[in-house]
Structures are given as C-alpha cells and as structure tokens.
Subunit: 193 residues, 2 copies
Amino acid sequence: MDSTFAQSLVISIPRWVDEILAGFAGPLESLEERMGLAIALAQNNVARGGGPFGAAVFLGARLVGVGVNRVLDSGFSIAHAEIVSLMAAQHTLAAERVKMGRFSLVTSTEPCCQCFGAIVWSGIEELVCGAITEDAEEIGFDEGPKPEGWAAILERRGITVVQRVRRDEARSVLADYRGRGGTIYGMRHPSVG
Amino acid sequence: MDSTFAQSLVISIPRWVDEILAGFAGPLESLEERMGLAIALAQNNVARGGGPFGAAVFLGARLVGVGVNRVLDSGFSIAHAEIVSLMAAQHTLAAERVKMGRFSLVTSTEPCCQCFGAIVWSGIEELVCGAITEDAEEIGFDEGPKPEGWAAILERRGITVVQRVRRDEARSVLADYRGRGGTIYGMRHPSVG
C-alpha cells in the first residue's frame, strides 16, 4: 500500500456565523431566544446554498458552540448541524476541566437517526427542537430509522427533550429551502452516487 | 457575543496507520483479509492508548479510507472508528466524479447507535463486522439504543450486512483492552462530565 492514510479531516464553520451572532445580544436565556439563534443559523445557511438546519450548544448560560449543515460543502455525510455544533462545543470545553451548568443542544429540526445516536454519547443533558421530524419529511428529507419512541429513550438516558419550540418559524425555513429548489440529499451521499 | 465561532474542527488520523498498512500487501480481496486490517488497526490503537476499534472503507478492490477510534485523543464523542474511516473515504472520493465498484465499510466491532445512523447516510452498500454488539457490551461498552433488527433495517435500505467475520480475533482485541484497564467511555463524554 503506497498511499498515505494518515491525514487531517476538517469540518469548517463558516465565517458568516460570527456576523449572525453579532446580531444576538447574549446571554440567550429562554429556550425561545436560543431557538431564535438556531433558526437564524438555518435560514442564513439556506441563503448561502447550504442545508436548512442550524444548531447551538449552551453550557449553563454560555453559548459554547454553533453549527450549520455542512454536508454539501464538506462532502462529509456526518456534517449535520447538530454534529458540527456538538464538535464545536466539545472543542471549546476540551481545555476546561470543570463543567458548570446544564449542557444543552438546541436544534432547528428534530435529529435524524445519525444525530439521535450521536446525542446519546455527546454528554448533553437537554435537547431542544424546533421543527418536527414530519416537517423535514414533508419537504422530502428522510430522517432515517430512529428507534420507536426516540425522545422517551433519550429521557430514560437522562436527556430532557423539549419539542416544538418556535416550530412554525423553524418549519418555514424548510419551506424556504424547498421553494429555492434546494438539494434533498438523502440516503445516498452525493459524492458517492 | 464577542467570541469567534467560525473555526476548523479537525479529526486527525495518526501517522502510525501508514506503518500498519505497509504490512499489508494490497489489494485485500476477501472479507477475511479486509477484516484482518480492521483488527490490526484496532489492536494497534489499543497499544497506543486508544479505544479498541478499527475500520476500513473499500471502493471495489481499492482501500479508500481507514479509521481508528479517536474519542479520547480528539475530545470528540463522534470520533468512532467507523466515522473516521467514512470521513477519510469521503475525503478521498470528493475529488472523483465516478464511483467504480462496491462501497464497503469493514469494522472490527458492530456499530453503536451513532454509527448505525451515520452508516444510513454514508452511501456504503456493504457493512462487514467482526465482534458482535454483545462482545463490546461484555467488556463494559454501551452500544446504545439501536433500533430493533438494525441489520435488517440496513438491508432494507440496500446495505448488505455481513456479521461475525473473524469474530474471535476481533473479540480478543476487546479483551486485551479490558485487560490493560482501558477507559470505558460511555454515555457521558469524558470531557464534559
């Protein structure tokens, strides 16, 4: 084998997220305010040709990571908004030893099967969702085979699940994406057929 | 908000994987030979203080990505061997337009709930596993809430699942990890409590 397989795999969070964040005066205390940020990230990602999904992670009152869907830009099928924001938060927290406050993921749409599973290992204690699974499926996205009663399963593992926070606004980002003729990347990753 | 949230999130594949690969004369045609590589990666990751999991991705006869568990090194709970190898493969393939041959993931242990979900979107057409879920759970790892009949669910989505390939050898890597007193990172990510 003569190829080199040692390499760095990079998911980048685009610069424009900082402009969006500048429009929010922190701290974002209520779940509604936090969802407003996740929705704004989703909306702005659509405007820039990305998937209609945004997410943010909080530790107590503090924002520790944000994410938008980067599947089409990065070529990585893993790069959903939830995964990107969780990685960003873990990157922020890796240097700190003490965890102060509730570790919470706020996402503009309920997680797919992949993000459901990733949430289990992420260390979060709260999951806050906007649009529901059926809203994503209505525009043609496949949320995949999540286990029956997925929210209750997370609850049993100590993760509080709050659903339908500003659902209508979150849903309208999905409708906007469909209206623009956005790619519905589904089961098959675009780069591999 | 005065922090910068635009950033690069990096998962690195260590240099020593190239040394391991140098010991394998390609192409690895049979599933047994391919599993031998995944097991060797797992074994060598344990020897270097990592988790006891390795994986490799093939496109037809060609090896296009390898991965080892990087959770403890990277601080990212997502960095399971399957995810790392799939990202590596997608990175390799992103520059290419034509997909030639079967896209296959070979993993030393059956996927957890997170990797199960990620596999659904990864574009692979074949999943080859060594040790079974119960083998991982026997040493204390939690494989998480995979849906009932997860292998059949993948099959229905067009992904052939082959189980128990060189299971005993794959399992002995897990036993070796436990024997060395390796960290059993589970539901809660180590960096966040």
